[in-house]
């Protein structure tokens, strides 16, 4: 029963973890850097959710939609402010990593100044039901909801990437920015949009993160980023759809550890990240190692 609970719970939360990480993977695929501010944006989304629910008494999940316009603007502002100088520098890859670390620190500080460093949590009942019964065992409703939201999110990302012109342009930039530019694709515009969409996916994942992580506080950002990075490394860097598989693997591993060796469960994301990087750096579904 314990095994069954851990595995079903792992699949449910794992699909949500894929959603949590997919924005990071999209940004990595298109812009070729690791957005270290990803987790800080997730935390911002969680605070927005908390405010919506507590101050305005609205459905907390609305935060996932409201975040869309500001995320796109933030993505465009960051992209156009930063990349012209970065791409001319000696070591754009490492410098962009450090730069986004700085942005993450600034977001974390602003979050602390605005919302204080106190932990904020929402009771599961704000979502309606509190638990759901599957195969005779009860699971938190927000686990099921996380999985139920992750499926259409991945469907939408699939349609965007494989059924729209912008998605075609995005995949062209992913495989080679130079070739994409030579066939007339506006690489900068596509990249700016993808950064915005990536930030939006992070912020909207934040509206569920406040439930699944049992609360939020400004200092969570970097841990969330590492967690999301583990998911996309397992799935395959630069292949956004594979994030859901990475999430399920991590979710199952984490829940199994929680069930059988709870004091070690915190080590799982980090240990798994190191193991995958050293043994199979391309992940489950990455065709090759992408040099960021």
């Amino acid at each position: 029963m314990l095994l069954e609970f851990a595995l079903i719970g792992g699949v449910l939360t794992g699909m949500y973890y894929g959603f949590l990480a997919v924005g990071l993977n999209l940004v990595f695929g298109v812009l070729r850097f690791v957005n270290l501010a990803h987790g800080s944006v997730v935390v911002l989304g969680s605070y927005l959710t908390w405010e919506l629910s507590n101050t305005w008494h609205l459905n907390p999940l609305l935060a996932g939609l409201i975040a869309f316009p500001p995320s796109l603007v933030l993505g465009a502002v960051i992209f156009y402010a930063v990349t012209p100088r970065l791409s001319r520098s000696a070591d754009p890859e490492m410098l962009s990593l450090i730069l986004f670390f700085g942005i993450a620190q600034a977001i974390e500080a602003i979050t602390t100044i605005v919302f204080t460093s106190n932990r904020r949590a929402l009771p599961g009942s704000t979502l309606g039901a509190s638990s759901v019964s599957i195969l005779g065992q009860r699971y938190p409703f927000y686990w099921v909801l996380g999985a139920a939201i992750a499926v259409p999110v991945f469907g939408a990302i699939y349609i965007y990437l494989y059924r729209t012109r912008l998605g075609l342009a995005t995949r062209a930039v992913m495989s080679s920015p130079d070739d994409a530019a030579s066939v007339g694709i506006d690489v900068k515009r596509v990249s700016a949009i993808c950064l915005g969409v990536g930030l939006f996916l992070a912020a909207s994942a934040g509206s569920l993160s406040i439930f699944i992580r049992g609360g939020t506080d400004p200092a969570q950002g970097i841990a969330v980023t590492t967690f999301a990075f583990t998911v996309i490394v397992i799935g395959g860097l630069g292949n956004p759809i594979s994030s859901i598989a990475g999430g399920v693997v991590l979710g199952c591993a984490y829940n199994l550890a929680q069930a059988y060796a709870p004091s070690w469960s915190g080590v799982i994301p980090y240990g798994l990240l190191l193991a995958v990087m050293l043994i199979r750096p391309s992940g489950l579904f990455g065709s090759q190692v992408r040099v960021a």
Binding site: F33, V34, V82, R85, L86, S89, A90, D91, E93, M94, L95, S96, L97, I98, L99, F101, G102, I103, A104, Q105, A106, I107, E108, A109, I110, T112, I113, S117, I222, A223, T226, F229, T230, S263, W264, G266, V267, P269, Y270, G271, L273, L274, M277, L278, P281, V291, A292
Partner: protein, 332 residues
């Protein structure tokens, strides 16, 4: 990447070692770097007669040591370890466990701290196969795994788990301060040596172009592993000294990511690949931090977050590069 005066220091086949030493002292940049190291040690050796706050002096020295460690790893080899604090914590715990559990003296304890961090570095050396951001984040994961290992209830018999370490059996404010000064001296001397030795030249050759370096006969894997171990040993020594000075600490204190971040920013701000850069960066930024940071830490976090953005965009090679270009114009 290499300035003219630096390439001169590289070994010329057939020259006797005595010639190399005289050659070194004719090299103005070597004399300048050695002078910086001596002045630094002098200031801290007599520091307590003009600054009553010993902990401030110790923190400055420890951050200088860490910033130099980052300098060796990132400045000389191009590997940026976000989880650098892991070695600092390993050194602190090496000191704590050896003195409180195995009852060795303080000086063997310092050695144990360095040994523990070197062992951790050797275990993690396969990470050097990863490049760029992969390596940076993998090292962060390793440091996070390490703190969970140390604070885990199963490790409580050795590390005292989440309840922290206590070094009161070897507490000695005078000797621990002097040891930190000596540690800073050793670390600075090591960086001076690295910058002016053929070994340091090999490191920078690897950083500039790995395959060309390999083609010219440099054993890339051995050289970069050695640099990684040196940088870890610096952090471990810093951690062991810090543990001795503060005497009581918790896992979160010595494995705090903020420590890594500070060391990286201090080194970058001052200028990596130089001797004086990390020192100046630490003095300036840690000075500012102490002036404004203690009362409202999140404002300092905001300032240094934005500062990172400004450094990366406008002075990616740090203050030292600004200084060098000013001096360059003046001497021309």
């Amino acid at each position: 990447m290499l300035r003219d005066d630096e390439t001169l220091v590289g070994e010329i086949p057939g020259t006797a070692s005595k010639d190399r030493v005289t050659q070194l002292f004719r090299n103005r940049s070597f004399v300048g770097d050695a002078a910086v190291a001596l002045v630094l040690i002098g200031v801290f050796a007599f520091g307590r007669s003009f600054e009553a706050n010993t902990l401030l002096l110790v923190n400055l020295m420890v951050y200088m040591i860490l910033a130099q460690g980052i300098n060796v790893s990132y400045g000389f080899t191009g590997y940026l370890p976000f989880g650098f604090v892991g070695f600092f914590g390993a050194g602190a715990y090496g000191m704590a466990v050896s003195t409180s559990k195995f009852h060795v003296g303080a000086y063997p304890g310092l050695v144990a701290g360095v040994v523990v961090s070197v062992v951790v570095a050797l275990i993690l050396s396969p990470l050097l196969r990863l490049r760029g951001s992969y390596f940076a984040i993998a090292s962060l994961a390793a440091a996070e795994a390490l703190v969970l290992l140390v604070s885990n209830p199963s490790a409580q018999g050795i590390t005292n788990g989440a309840y922290g370490a206590n070094l009161s059996s070897v507490f000695n404010p005078g000797a621990s301060y002097v040891s930190t000064v000596v540690a800073l001296g050793l670390v600075t001397a090591a960086v001076v040596w690295l910058k002016h030795s053929p070994f340091g030249l090999a490191l920078r050759a690897i950083k500039a172009d790995r395959s060309s370096a390999a083609m010219s006969g440099i054993n890339v894997v051995r050289v970069r592993t050695f640099a990684w171990v040196i940088s870890a040993a610096m952090a471990g020594l810093g951690g062991a000294c810090y543990a001795w000075v503060i005497s009581v600490f918790y896992p979160g204190d010595v494995f705090s990511l903020t420590t890594s971040v500070f060391a990286i920013i201090f080194a970058l701000f001052g200028g990596i690949g130089t001797v004086v850069g990390p020192i100046v960066g630490t003095v300036v930024l840690y000075g500012i931090y102490n002036a404004i940071g203690i009362t409202v830490p999140q404002y300092f976090q905001l300032i240094y977050g934005l500062l990172i953005v400004v450094i990366v965009l406008f002075v990616p090679r740090g203050l030292a590069s600004l200084g060098a270009s000013v001096f360059g114009r003046m001497s021309r």
